[in-house]
Assembly symmetry: C2
Homo-oligomer: 175 residues x 2
């Protein structure tokens, strides 16, 4: 049976990354629900287009059992992560990632996604693909220069430009 995916979108989000996941899931009949890492469901892409997610991350927290996999769709919100980390939506983001990790569900992400998986402590000893700028910040996990990496339940791509390579493999386990 296909797996159900919760998709996190930061604000602003890289639309090319977000929609590579969503259109691939749609075309392959994989059920998904989108959650804004924001106070409301109205967010923007890096490129300035307003879009509406299904829900917000606060409502995913505590309801992780409804999903088999978590996607982190990165975006230009992340360079300011350290100064925003105390905000409720970012606290919810980290809590949700940790819960998915603790329960051994699939963790999927590109760009800075791997760093968040590392920060929450769920990826200790796992190999990850992530943006070269943040590779050095990884502590417990193993940051790599690979275009994409699959290590047990962790599916990571370096950036949105290599995401299509990861998606080919990811779809096999989600279907």
């Amino acid at each position: 049976m296909e797996k159900k995916v919760a998709v996190l979108a930061v604000n602003p989000v890289n639309g090319a990354g977000l929609f590579q996941y969503l259109e691939a899931f749609f075309e392959n009949g994989i059920p998904y629900k989108t959650f804004a890492v924001a106070e409301t469901t109205q967010i923007k892409t890096n490129s300035g287009i307003s879009l509406q997610t299904d829900d917000v991350v606060a409502n995913l927290r505590g309801n992780e059992d409804a999903y088999d996999a978590l996607v982190f769709a990165c975006g230009d919100a992340m360079p300011k992560f350290s100064e925003n980390a105390g905000k409720p939506e970012y606290q919810d983001l980290l809590a949700v990632i940790k819960t998915f990790g603790d329960k051994g569900k699939l963790l999927i992400g590109h760009c800075v996604g791997g760093l968040l998986f590392d920060i929450t402590g769920i990826a200790a000893g796992k190999r990850l693909a992530l943006h070269p700028f943040v590779k050095g910040a990884v502590k417990g996990a193993i940051g790599t220069d690979a275009p994409f990496v699959i290590d047990r339940n962790f599916y990571t791509a370096q950036t949105e430009t290599t995401l299509h390579l990861l998606l080919q493999e990811l779809l096999k386990v989600l279907k």
Copy 2:
């Protein structure tokens, strides 16, 4: 000087295609404006996400001189093109494409985009990349099986999955 791009988005639009253009333009400082091929600026992606474009195609018609290039972002609206072709937004779409072509501006598109360029008569004798399902419908242009094709002012990709290959070349002429 960088070129200014008008981006057409059908309803529903493939978000993976649309946002590969938009994020690439954004990251490279190429100015663009989005136009829905619809009565309003509220459209959806194939994957069901609501988004808002800057304007509608009716307001691009007659204002083509403000732009150097036209992008056609394809989507699940197109399989029903023949039954909707008489609607004002589709008449505007075809008129706008023809005007850009007649003025020798850049015509850019993936999937069914090449067929629309052919239908309007602006691509006679030009080689195009387009979705295999519609290749046989091309009349005056030359449909190909290539992942992407550049033939004078025509920049076409077979589908959104080969669009990144076209974009590498396209950005060189837009910057």
